[in-house]
Amino acid sequence: MVGLCPDAENYTGLLTDPQFLTFFKNSAVVSVCVVSVTMVIAVLAAFSLARMGFWGSATLATGVFLTYLVPDTLLFIPLFKIFAWVHDVTGIELINHWWVLIVLYPTLTVPFCTWIMIGYFASIPKELDEAALIDGASYFQVLTRIFIPVALPGIIAAMIFCFTVSWANFLYPLAFTTSADQLVLPVGIVTTLIKGDVFNWGQIMTGALLGAAPPLIIYAFLMDYYISGLTAGATKG
């Protein structure tokens, strides 16, 4: 029955449920790790693709973007096969572990973040890194002391995107994790709060709201950065 007065029962129920807290913790750890891994790879990749101009870098940059266009619904079956193969060869079980998502999500986030950052880095005047190179900086120092501070809005935009993707992804955790203690929030809510044909609507809705809260809070605080990141290069200066 739907009550007429709002009450906090669903919140207290969920927030004191150790299972729900495990989902939340898994999601948080996965997302933070994915953001970190993605940023390290994407920033380094974007810098080298945007600036170092090695042979084939332009083709590679387009290639990076094209991989992003492959939908994850197409990828999870071959990934499953690869995991089985890895298990056969090395004995390492990759299926049904929450941490395997830290390896899987970057296949979605790295190409896109690299692509955004290539665009952002390309908008930084070339003279800036040339000046730094002449001033005595190595390529790595150009990256850490000039590019990252200057491109911070772009990097934060990419981080927000990356966090949202790994926080909200449904298909990969549904396919690759099954035990209740290995689930992340989106899948956990759906699989544990729907019991057969009984839909625990109150808690499902509460779980959805609590799940949506972290990205919302991050957006609210970093919105200014996000917008300046999205519109980078639109106008001069």
Partner: protein
């Protein structure tokens, strides 16, 4: 402090040649200006000295060291860019000290060097500001300051004044000259503006289509250009070029510019031009050598009447344009003497400053 030497430098971008074999010796503490139109290879040459572009072939020496394979940071050079290239997230102090901090100089020395450079450039008050809080001229000073604090062997300037408005450009030009007088370091300066080249340089290198046309002190290029390109490029407004024919004029030679207009060639030049008798040549005379005719015609000069086509008053002088056999010719006359467009005016050409150019080779005879 160092000399710079370029030996047969060639630079190809894919298959397009940008620089086609340049030889240049720059002595210690010299102020060299590379000047030429867009795409003449002057910036590419500078960038090769900086190490930002690799030379396709040839050798570059800074001091006695062959630097072809030395990365920019180890060449001990400093460069000032057209768009300043200040690090936007750093204050002026941090911008100027960036190179020294990377090289781990002691803090005290960094402070002293920055303070000293800031004093030379008069930007001591700006050290805590960020680039976006500065005007164009101030940014340019900071960019120069960043170069000065490093105390490099060679200064490289890549069109540093092009982003400034006309008035500020003149001011900063003087500033750069002053700085070079205080901090005498070998300097290579690239510009497309021949006035900057003339005013700043010890020697000017005029480049065209990837090659050096002529190297020399500013006045030599102005008075004794070796090619038609240099003659036309140096000087503003540009030298007038008129097709003509060298003809016999009794005692001396004449240059015949049209059916109505023949001008006498001074006797001192007769021997030089004798070989071109009855040949087609290009006659060159600077606008400042075509002035109003008043009273007697001085020796070596030629008076002629023209119908004025356009008259441009400039204040201290007036430009008059007239047509000679289909070619527009410019003269610089005293404003009080200038007539109106359509009127006839008596002008005097100073033939002692004339040039003849062989149309086949474009070399000045």
């Amino acid at each position: 402090m160092a000399q710079v030497a370029l030996r047969n430098i060639v630079k190809m971008f894919d298959k397009t040649p940008a620089v086609q074999g340049i030889d240049l010796d720059i002595t210690d503490r010299e102020f060299i200006v590379l000047v030429g139109p867009s795409g003449c290879g002057k910036s590419t040459t500078l960038r090769m000295i900086a190490g930002l572009e690799e030379a396709t072939s040839g050798e570059i020496y800074i001091g006695d060291q062959l630097v072809n394979d030395v990365p920019p940071k180890d060449r001990d050079i400093a460069m000032v860019f057209q768009n300043y290239a200040l690090y936007p997230h750093m204050t002026v102090f941090e911008n100027m000290s960036f190179g020294l901090r990377l090289k781990k100089f002691p803090k005290q020395e960094i402070k002293e060097r920055v303070a000293n450079a800031a004093r030379i450039l008069d930007i001591t008050d700006l050290l805590d500001r960020r680039p976006k809080q500065l005007s164009g001229g101030q940014r340019q000073r900071v960019a120069m300051g960043r170069a000065i604090v490093r105390n490099p062997k060679v200064f490289l300037f890549d069109e540093p004044l092009s982003n400034l408005d006309a008035k500020l450009r003149v001011q900063m030009r003087t500033e750069i000259k002053k700085v070079h007088q205080k901090v005498t370091v070998t300097t290579v300066y690239v510009t497309h503006d021949q006035i900057e080249a003339m005013t700043l340089a010890d020697r000017v290198v005029v480049m065209n289509a990837g090659r050096i046309e002529q190297i020399g002190p500013p006045n030599e290029l102005y008075h004794n250009p070796k090619t038609r390109f240099v003659a036309g490029f140096i000087g503003s407004p540009a030298m007038n070029f008129m097709p003509g024919r060298v003809v016999n004029g009794g005692n001396n030679l004449n240059i015949r510019l049209s059916d109505k207009l023949s001008l006498p060639i001074p006797e001192s030049r007769t021997a030089r031009y004798r070989a071109y008798l009855d040949k087609e040549v290009i006659f060159g005379l600077r606008p400042e050598d075509i002035i109003e005719g008043r009273g007697d015609v001085p020796p070596g000069c030629a008076a002629f009447d023209v119908q004025l086509d356009v008259v441009e008053p400039m204040g201290m002088e007036t430009m008059v344009y007239f047509i000679v056999d289909g070619t527009e010719v410019c003269g610089r006359v005293n404003p009080t003497a200038a007539g109106n467009a359509g009127e006839t005016m008596k002008l005097v050409g100073d033939m002692n400053h004339m040039h003849l150019i062989d149309p086949a080779t474009d070399q000045v005879i």
